[in-house]
């Protein structure tokens, strides 16, 4: 079949099959690592980890009005719970119709909830679900205020993955934007929100 063009796809797959001519034996993956956290007080661990990465932690829904009183122009997802905004007197910008990147850049802060939080690493995971909105919303404003319910907190990363839908766009956040690119020392504050504030609500806070 001289001159017949083989697609890159077929050629690469054929190369890889040839490369495996030695038929490597099946692999049993040992999963002896921890999949459930047995530490008694996950919230203490979470607060420790968040503060270690320079996030600011507030306890209880009562902290919100005071926090929001510093914010002149606030972005929120369309389904933000009404009680989070109780008494808010500033400019409120709901993301409907969707705010342009430039419009988001003019706002002072964004207020959202989250999907799951990993105590062990201080990681907040957003999945574009309830009270979170689309990804741009929590990216462009310079200050992110995130409400975390204690029932959203798990101990270890494997526990968090079981609660997530892989088809949703996922953003994992561990502290404010940072870089280690200069002499491998961490400094906070580059392109993402430079301030991350976490408001813990629910039992045990």
């Amino acid at each position: 079949m001289v001159g017949k063009t083989v697609s890159a796809r077929d050629e690469i797959l054929a190369r890889l099959r040839t490369a495996l001519a030695d038929s490597p034996p099946p692999v049993q993956v040992p999963r002896g690592y921890r999949r459930v956290d047995d530490r008694p007080n996950l919230i203490d661990t979470l607060v420790d980890r968040l503060e270690d990465y320079r996030a600011v932690v507030h306890h209880g829904i009562d902290a919100l009005p005071r926090l929001l009183s510093e914010v002149d122009r606030l972005a929120v997802p369309i389904d933000v719970p009404a009680d989070w905004l109780a008494g808010y007197a500033g400019e409120l910008h709901r993301d409907a119709p969707p705010l342009s990147p430039a419009a988001l850049d003019d706002l002072d802060a964004v207020l959202t909830g989250c999907a799951v939080v990993v105590a062990d690493t201080g990681t907040i995971i957003l999945d574009a679900g309830p009270a979170q909105g689309r990804r741009a919303l929590t990216l462009v404003p310079d200050r992110h205020i995130c409400v975390v319910r204690t029932d959203q907190v798990v101990g270890l990363l494997p526990e968090a993955l079981t609660r997530l839908d892989p088809r949703a766009p996922l953003t994992w956040i561990s502290g404010p934007s940072a870089t280690s690119d200069i002499e491998l020392n961490r400094v906070e504050g580059v392109h993402g929100p430079r301030r991350l504030e976490v408001v813990l609500i629910g039992s045990g806070v």
Binding site: P166, P169, S180, V190
Partner: protein
């Protein structure tokens, strides 16, 4: 019937233009560079050790990571087909590239189709490997690196010298100087405080992010069962590129696959602690094709071979494809710490580069790299996926071309050493010949060694002394006891 298709080596920035010892010489003599590297690698080694020590099941995670990657390699063709089907069903378009040139062509064409004449880039080893920025520039498309270290390297018209921190060879004063010289909108009173430098980069890139139409990224992981791509980063430049533009093109080496979404539970624990020495990096983004109304609506994935099939074809060298580009092996390597990344010539420096680059290009094209190591094994100890780098280095040294004189010598030595009788006779002969010389040297210099041998053995004595035979062998001494 189709003929089997041979695995092929790759091109791009993965070849040493100079032999490693030649390239390393000026680097080792550069005291500023050595001070910068020493300081940076010492910092990161301590950070990594601290966060790894606090994980009680670290070894179990390494075992799992290593096994998952071995499984991926074994099933690579079927997992690629599965990934293609999943991500296509989720609204993305998959492209395949046999080599660096084909991958560049695909990205250029996709960018042109949007009408854009610039792209913003997330830090990606794959795009550095295929020399994408140069290809885009040749096509009249400006590529803007947005990772701080990549930005420093791009502004300085330099090349990356480290997998994680491409500008590791610069200290803060040098970075400030590059910004002052090459960043038109840098503040006139810019200090060399890292926070001030980061602030300058933020201001410099802000408008570009908000108006970018096309982004180019790599991916840390590509999940076969869901079609999910994962990018791990710190600054938020990744989120900007992956979220705001209309078109997103991700260049992904075929070895980056993971079988299932659940497997991320292993790698997202191993990678941040091994690479930046953090419990978790500030931002990780995961996207599966297109999400209506959220992020890029025109999503492409370019799957690249560029030599990976050749690596896969060698059962001993194959585990090099397990690498997750954490760079822990660079940070502990005594050779890397002294020579720096540029001496390796390839975008993949350090211990992993010394095995990966020669395998991607074919050993004959990168023959000096397997020797750029002391075989101390520190790289193997820290590798989160347990790649036995020293073993593969020795394996590749055997494949490297050796000069005829060396081959002939080794053949003779091998014949002599195969028989105890021949070996004992050879030692007696050597002592008869060189014994008086040894005694003379010992009187003169205090050591039974020679500094220089005549050509062609002079090549060997350039960096070594030759020991002369001892007055008696251990076995002779033992026999008398």
């Amino acid at each position: 019937m189709s003929h089997p298709v041979a695995p092929a080596t790759g091109g791009g920035r993965i070849r040493t233009p100079l032999p490693f010892p030649t390239a390393a010489k000026p680097a080792v003599a550069d005291t500023q560079l050595r001070a910068n590297l020493h300081r940076a690698t010492r910092t990161i080694r301590a950070k990594r050790a601290r966060v790894v020590d606090e994980v009680p099941d670290w070894e179990a995670l390494r075992d799992a990571g290593s096994a998952i990657k071995a499984d991926v390699q074994r099933r690579l063709p079927e997992l690629l087909e599965q990934f293609e089907a999943s991500v296509t069903a989720a609204g993305a378009t998959v492209h395949w590239a046999r080599d660096a040139a084909e991958a560049c062509r695909i990205v250029v064409e996709l960018t042109r189709a949007t009408g854009a004449d610039e792209v913003v880039k997330v830090k990606s080893m794959a795009t550095q490997e295929i020399e994408l920025n140069e290809a885009l520039e040749a096509a009249g498309i400006a590529a803007y690196e947005t990772d701080l270290a990549e930005l420093i390297v791009q502004l300085g018209e330099d090349t990356p010298s480290h997998i994680l921190v491409p500008a590791i060879h610069y200290n803060r004063a040098q970075i400030r100087e590059i910004f002052e010289r090459r960043m038109a909108d840098a503040p006139s009173d810019l200090s060399d405080e890292p926070a001030a430098l980061a602030e300058a980069a933020r201001a410099h890139l802000r408008r570009r992010f908000l108006s970018a139409r096309v982004a180019v990224s790599g991916a840390n992981f590509a999940v076969a069962d869901t079609g999910t791509l994962v990018v791990v980063e710190s600054e938020g430049n990744g989120r900007m590129c992956l979220t705001l533009p209309e078109t997103l093109i991700s260049v992904v080496g075929v070895e980056k696959l993971l079988p299932t979404f659940t497997d991320l539970e292993v790698f997202l624990q191993l990678l941040p602690r091994s690479s930046t020495g953090e419990r978790m990096n500030p931002y990780t983004s995961m996207w599966t094709g297109v999400t209506p109304g959220d992020g890029p609506q025109d999503v492409h994935v370019v799957l690249v071979d560029n030599g990976r099939s050749a690596v896969l074809a060698d059962p001993v060298g194959r585990p090099a494809l397990s690498c997750i580009r954490c760079s822990a092996c660079l940070n502990v390597c005594p050779v890397y710490e002294r020579a720096g990344g540029h001496a390796y010539g390839s975008v993949y420096p350090g211990p992993i580069g010394a095995i990966l680059s020669p395998q991607l290009t074919g050993v004959a094209d990168n023959a000096s790299l397997p020797y750029a190591s002391t075989l101390c094994g520190a790289c193997y100890d820290v590798c989160p996926v347990k790649i036995n780098i020293p073993e593969i280095l020795v394996h590749l040294r055997q494949q490297a071309p050796h000069p005829p004189a060396e081959r002939a010598t080794m053949r003779v030595l091998s014949w002599v050493m195969r028989s105890p009788r021949r070996w004992a006779a050879a030692l007696r002969l050597a002592r008869a010949g060189a014994g008086p010389l040894g005694a003379y040297r010992e009187r003169r210099t205090g050591a039974r060694t020679l500094r220089r041998l005549p050509w062609p053995a002079s090549a060997w004595t350039r960096s070594r002394d030759v020991p002369l035979p001892a007055p008696q062998t251990f076995r002779e001494w033992w026999g008398k006891q």
